[in-house]
Structures are given as structure tokens and as C-alpha cells.
Symmetry: C2
Subunit: 214 residues, 2 copies
DNA sequence: TGTTCGTTGGACTTCATGGTCCAGTTGTAG
DNA sequence: CTACAACTGGACCATGAAGTCCAACGAACA
């Protein structure tokens, strides 16, 4: 990744200021979207000035937004650590699920830093689109690894396609968030995620509850 | 619903112009989002003038966007007719699924007029948010009716909660579209939707393929 | 035929917002 | 302590987009 900001000569103070800008912008974007976020708002929220914004992000708003996307993406992944790295049993999936839901709840808003940006700005900024796509892809791969471990351990059907299962889970998260937004509740997200996680639930418990035939 | 445009005195010619504006705006929003759509673009695309835009939509851009949301919503529902009204067997769900996927494919872009607007503009315009929420709700209710019919006919488990199943299906659609966007392919959407539709698939076929235990 | 009202054209105004500039301050290394 | 570079403040500029205004056109109807 090529960052327009060379981090060689940078003071600690500068680093803090820069980080403050990124986080405040993220907050604002989360609340009002990219288009609804102005540099003046960021400036006011961070008690900085225009010159600082352009000092740290010479590429202007576009670069700042990209930086925010990467930062938020990292936060999202860290929130899933360490569970997402060690998905190999139903219990580990449950722990991961709890950590993820908790992350979304803690932000106060029902929006995914990756998913909602994907919808908002995909067509406006190809570079941002790339960042989003990369984040989505590694997320899916990490989940697929977990599914693969489950399969190799014989905990789920050998015929299950890990990539497909991972995609279904991701889709459930993104779609669940879309529905949680107007609902102002986590339940659509939880329902969708649990449903997608069904195939990973060992034994025929899931089938019996959700899918049995009279 | 209160429309700022009183339709009492309006010529056929005016109606056509107005409709032309709505459709062109929808096209533009689909391509560039709400923020990326300017009235000048709409004016150019429809060969109209500013005065016409404000003549037919006194509320300005906000009203126009709301009108577009409603129009697109209607289109979306019509695309699912008549199947969505008569969900009562696995075959009918399959027909509905085909019609829906076909609708999204035919638009050329992987975006839902309801879902993507929900993400984009929910917080900027409360009225638009209401329109989106309503559309989402009636959609969910209609699907839930179908699930209810399935349950009452004994085709799925009596314990299944129709509203929850409908929500999971909707989430799969929305999330599938989010993932289909960067992928530039319908497969994530189809995978997610099929997975969510699993519980409606009679017999233990689904269980055997996706979820069996060694 | 003329009057009325829906319709249309396009110039004009206002203003928010991204972006620029430069002078002044603070920190740090020799 | 001095010099240089990083950092900060805020006035200023350019632009594009929403919204206004008014004059002119055209179709229905007396």
C-alpha cells in the first residue's frame, strides 16, 4: 500500500494530531456518511485547522476518507481477535459471534465500517473501492479458514464449500446490519447471523429446531 | 402519505415530463449515489430546465429523491409480482427467487433501491428514512405471510417464526447485494439467498447436503 | 379569438465546501 | 543558543451545486 504520507519525519505530537483527525472523521462518517461529512466539521471536532488537515493528508478529503476506511477496518478486525484466528469448534464460533456483535453494539450505530462504505463510495473513488474490496476479501478468507478447519476436523459435512459458507455468513452480517438500522435493534443482525451460522452448529440440533419435517 | 405535488391540475404532457425526471434521477442515483447526483445532471439527462425540476418538485432535491425512492420501491415490488403474493409451496418460492434475481441482474448494478438508500441517506433525511423503513417493513411482512402459509400447510416446522424467517431472507438479499457489488457477480447474492431459503426447502434434502454429520 | 393556466427556458444569486497560502510557533538536534 | 524543520492558525480563493425569478410558449376552453 502506498501512503501519500511519509512517516519518516514525524513528531509524537504530530502523530497524535493525525490520529485524532482520523478518529474524529470516522466518527462523523459513521454518523452522517461520507457526503455528509465536511472538513469544517472535522476541523471543529478536533480543534485543528485546515492547514493541519492538508498537512497530514495532502491528498485532501479523499485520502483522509481512505485512511479512515483502513483504520476502521483494522479496528473491526481487532475486535474479532483472537477468536477469528482460531475458529475450530462450535464454541469458538460462538465466542467470535459474541465479540463481533459486541463490537457493533459498542459503536452505538448499526453500520459496518466496511459494508456501509462499500455502498456509499464504491463508484465515487476507485481507490477506496479497492480498500473496501480487500478488507472484505481478507475477512471472507479468514472465515473460510475457520470453516475449513471445521470441515477437516470432521465437524461439518465434507461437501460444504468453505468459501461459500464464509460468504453466506458475511452476507448475513452485512444484511443484518442493514435491517438493524431502521429497527434500531440488534435482533435482525443476530437472527441473520445465527441462521447463517446454523450449518456450523454441530449435531442435528439446528435441523431439529429450524428445519424439521412433521 | 403527503405529497407536496398536488396532482389535480396536471396535463398529460406534464405527467410524462415529471415521470421522465423521476426515472432519470433514479438512474443517476443508482450509478453515483445521492450525493453524487446533481440537479444539473438530471436536467441534462432529461433535456429539461431548472424551473421544471422545481415546478414538479417544489421541495427541491430532497423531495425528488424521496419520490425516486418510492418509485423504485414500487418497481421492486412489481418485479416480484405475482409470485410474492402467492408463496405457498417450494416451487412458488423458487419462482419468486428467480424473478427477484432477474430484477437485480436487469438493472445492471448490484444495488437495491431500498437497501442501498437505507445506508446512504438514512441519517440525512428523516422523511426518506421513513419511506425506506416502510418499504422494508411491508416487504418483510409479505414474505412472512408466505412463510406463514407454508407453516400452516405443514410444509415447514410449526415452531418456525415467520417474521424471523422473513427477516433472515431479507438480510440475505441485502447482504448478498453488498458482497455482489465488489465481486461484480450475482453469486454471493444467490448463495446467500439460497442459504436463507434453506428452511423452506421441504424434505431433509437441504440438511443432507449442507449440514449432515458423519 | 382571446384568456387563462400549466409548462418551459435559462440567466442569476447565494452559499457551502474543498482546497491554497503564508506567516507565526513549537519542538529538537547540533 | 541557534538553526532548521515540523507543526499550527486562520484568512483567503475557486468552484460547483441548490435554489430563485421572470419572461415566453402552448394547449384547452369561453
Amino acid at each position: 500500500m502506498i501512503s501519500a504520507m511519509d512517516e519518516s519525519k514525524i513528531t509524537e505530537r504530530g502523530r497524535r494530531t493525525r490520529q485524532r483527525i482520523v478518529e474524529a472523521t470516522g466518527e462523523q462518517i459513521l454518523a452522517s456518511g461520507i457526503g455528509g461529512t465536511t472538513l469544517d466539521q472535522v476541523r471543529a471536532a478536533t480543534l485543528t485547522s485546515k492547514s493541519q488537515l492538508f498537512h497530514y493528508f495532502p491528498g485532501g478529503k479523499a485520502e483522509l476518507v481512505r485512511e479512515v476506511a483502513q483504520w476502521e477496518g483494522r479496528q473491526l478486525f481487532e475486535a474479532q481477535e483472537p477468536y477469528i484466528r482460531d475458529l475450530r469448534s462450535w464454541e469458538s464460533w460462538e465466542q467470535w459471534r459474541a465479540a463481533l456483535i459486541n463490537y457493533y453494539i459498542s459503536r452505538g450505530r448499526w453500520a459496518c465500517p466496511i459494508g456501509s462504505l462499500a455502498t456509499q463510495a464504491a463508484m465515487s473513488d476507485p481507490e477506496l473501492e479497492q480498500i473496501i474490496a480487500d478488507g472484505l476479501r481478507t475477512w471472507r478468507e479468514t472465515l473460510a479458514d475457520g470453516v475449513r478447519r471445521m470441515r477437516d476436523a470432521g465437524l461439518i459435512a465434507p461437501a460444504a464449500d468453505p468459501l461459500k459458507v464464509a460468504t453466506v455468513i458475511l452476507a448475513a452480517i452485512q444484511g443484518g446490519l442493514v435491517l438493524s438500522q431502521p429497527e434500531r435493534s440488534a435482533w435482525p443482525l443476530e437472527a441473520a447471523l445465527d441462521s447463517a451460522l446454523g450449518p456450523l452448529h454441530g449435531a442435528s440440533l439446528t435441523n431439529a429446531v429450524v428445519n424439521s419435517m412433521p
